[in-house]
């Protein structure tokens, strides 16, 4: 099993979620994060002095998937989150040694 972590533009969150759901991945966990990357934040003003808001709000999506679904999942995320503009975000994949569903105690692929 793999854990996919995708950092995307917040307004693409719904698209990614739907795309994942279409291929059978209904469970995901989302966190509001601040991204720093090539895309730069903007400057704001306050009482005549400028200051840089140098982070950009991003949505971090975590989804545990079975090994079989991995490739497909990466593909649909890449497609759904793409705008072609800088700041579209990144996907990270790590290995998952175990997954447990708390309610039932199921483990492994059943638990995803």
């Amino acid at each position: 099993m793999k854990l996919i972590t995708a950092v995307v533009k917040p307004f693409k969150l719904d698209d990614v979620r739907e795309a994942l759901s279409d291929i059978g991945i209904a469970g995901i966990t989302v966190t509001e994060v601040k991204g720093f990357g090539r895309q730069k934040g903007h400057t704001e003003l306050y009482r005549g002095a400028e200051y840089v808001v140098d982070f950009l709000p991003k949505a971090k999506i975590e989804a545990a998937v079975s090994d079989e679904l991995l490739e497909q999942a990466l593909e649909v995320i890449t497609t759904a989150a793409n705008t072609g503009k800088i700041g579209d975000g990144k996907i990270f994949v790590t290995n998952l040694e175990q997954v447990i569903r708390i309610r039932t105690g199921e483990t492994g692929n059943e638990a995803i």
Binding site: G41, H42, E44, Y46, P57
Partner: protein, 416 residues
């Protein structure tokens, strides 16, 4: 005796000024109501609009609006003519010589009137919120407060043709509220709905306001201010009859608002199964708008009924405009426009001098004139500087694009 006349003049002037101060306070009410009902990312901008429009109204009305609305010598009963700046106040000699005709300070009158203009303009800002360019809006407010409002105001309160026709509008359900709502409607039609508000297959996506306590505070401020709005419109308090009249107006204003809250809340509960606070707030304002056309002749019970019906109307009106895909974030067109019309018609229930024909004529005249004039103005502004922010600016929030400043920098992820 002369001293008595002077004292009487002083009391009426003071009453006028206090009522004016209450109405001025409504500017804060609109600002809070609107700031509470938009999203966090558009809050600084709506606040800026509200602060600026009030200021522009004060300047424009002083420059020419007041004179147009209450012309010394009108050109004719439709066009008042133009002149600038305020004149001198009444002298003691004149007051004493007038035998009670001149019973309050002209400056107090100006002060009371100027806060009314601002009210009319405030109505617009809520309806066009979250997507209109700041400077386009402010440009419109120059035209609205300097010309459009004063001209139709002249028709009724300045002694123009609507007044001669017997149109009855005590404190401005038409002249102020319908006028403001009509200008808003023209703007909204040109502007279009906020992105994401209406889905493909007729679906409606609510965009909840970010701060309900602020919206509630705004409503309470407006309610309080309305005592000045309606109470001051009696224009005089210095004898038993006038004092009773003002007292009855206070009672009726309060009763209509209270009934509006209850009926809107119950209606919403029946329709949705939940007690929708935003509808209760609209219900209060609806009750207030409805009673504004005639707060003096109804009994408190009738005032309550007029307010209660207004509370029901506003719920259906809000839903109805959404069905028509006319996007009004704060419900201003429903509260001030639709219910304003209801209030003007309801005058006929209690005021024997009012006729349905005169009321309908008044409604139609105000609507047609304000709509045309506003539409034209919006169009001109649109063709020169544009009226709508870009899609990206809208997504990011107009606070950033128009004001460069967040309203709640620590409470939300900026730039969302």
């Amino acid at each position: 005796m002369e001293q008595l006349t002077e004292l009487s003049y002083a009391l009426d002037t003071f009453y006028f000024l206090i009522c004016g101060a209450f109405v001025m306070w409504m500017a804060a009410g609109f600002a809070m109501l609107e700031a509470g009902l938009v999203r966090a990312k558009n809050t600084t901008e709506i606040l800026t609009k509200n602060v600026a429009l009030y200021s522009i109204a004060c300047v424009m009305y002083m420059l020419c609006g007041y004179n147009m609305m209450y012309p010394a010598e009108a050109v004719n009963s439709i066009w008042p003519g133009i002149s600038f700046l305020l004149g001198e106040d009444n002298t003691t000699v004149d007051v004493l010589a007038s035998k009670g005709e001149t019973y309050y300070s002209t400056m107090a009158d100006f002060f009371f009137q100027v806060v009314f203009v601002a009210t009319a303009m405030s109505i617009v800002s809520g309806a066009v919120a979250e997507r209109m360019k700041l400077w386009a809006f402010l440009s419109f407010s120059v035209v609205m407060t300097g010309f459009i409002y004063p001209i139709q105001g002249y028709w009724k309160w300045g002694g123009g043709f609507l007044d001669q026709l017997g149109f009855s509008d005590f404190a401005g359900s038409g002249v102020v509220h319908l006028c403001g709502a009509t200008a808003a409607l023209a703007g909204v039609l040109l502007l279009g709905a906020r992105k994401g508000k209406y889905g493909a297959n007729g679906s409606i996506h609510p965009i909840p306001g970010c701060n309900m306590p602020l919206a509630t505070l705004g409503m309470f401020i407006l309610w309080l201010g309305w005592f000045g709005f309606n109470g001051g419109s009696e224009l005089k308090i210095s004898n038993v009859e006038e004092a009773n009249a003002v007292a009855l107006i206070f009672v009726n204003t309060n009763a209509a608002a209270a009934a509006g809250v209850i009926s809107a809340l119950v209606t919403a509960h029946i329709l949705f199964g939940k007690a929708d606070l935003s509808m209760a707030l609209n219900g209060a304002l609806a009750g207030l708008v409805a009673i504004t056309a005639e707060p003096l002749t109804p009994t408190p019970l009738l005032a309550s009924i007029i307010g209660a019906i207004a509370g029901i109307i506003v719920v259906f009106s809000v839903i109805g405009f959404d069905k028509l895909k006319i996007d009004d974030p704060v419900g201003a067109i429903s509260v001030h426009g639709v219910v304003g019309i209801w209030g003007l018609l309801a005058v006929c229930f209690s005021n024997p001098d009012a006729t349905l024909v005169a009321q309908l004529t008044g409604i139609a005249s105000i609507f047609i004139f304000v709509f045309s004039a506003s539409f034209l103005t919006w169009k001109v502004i649109q063709s020169i500087i544009g009226i709508r922010v870009t899609e990206e600016e809208e997504y990011q929030g107009v606070d950033y694009s128009e004001c460069g400043m967040e309203a709640y920098p620590e409470f939300t992820n900026s730039g969302k």
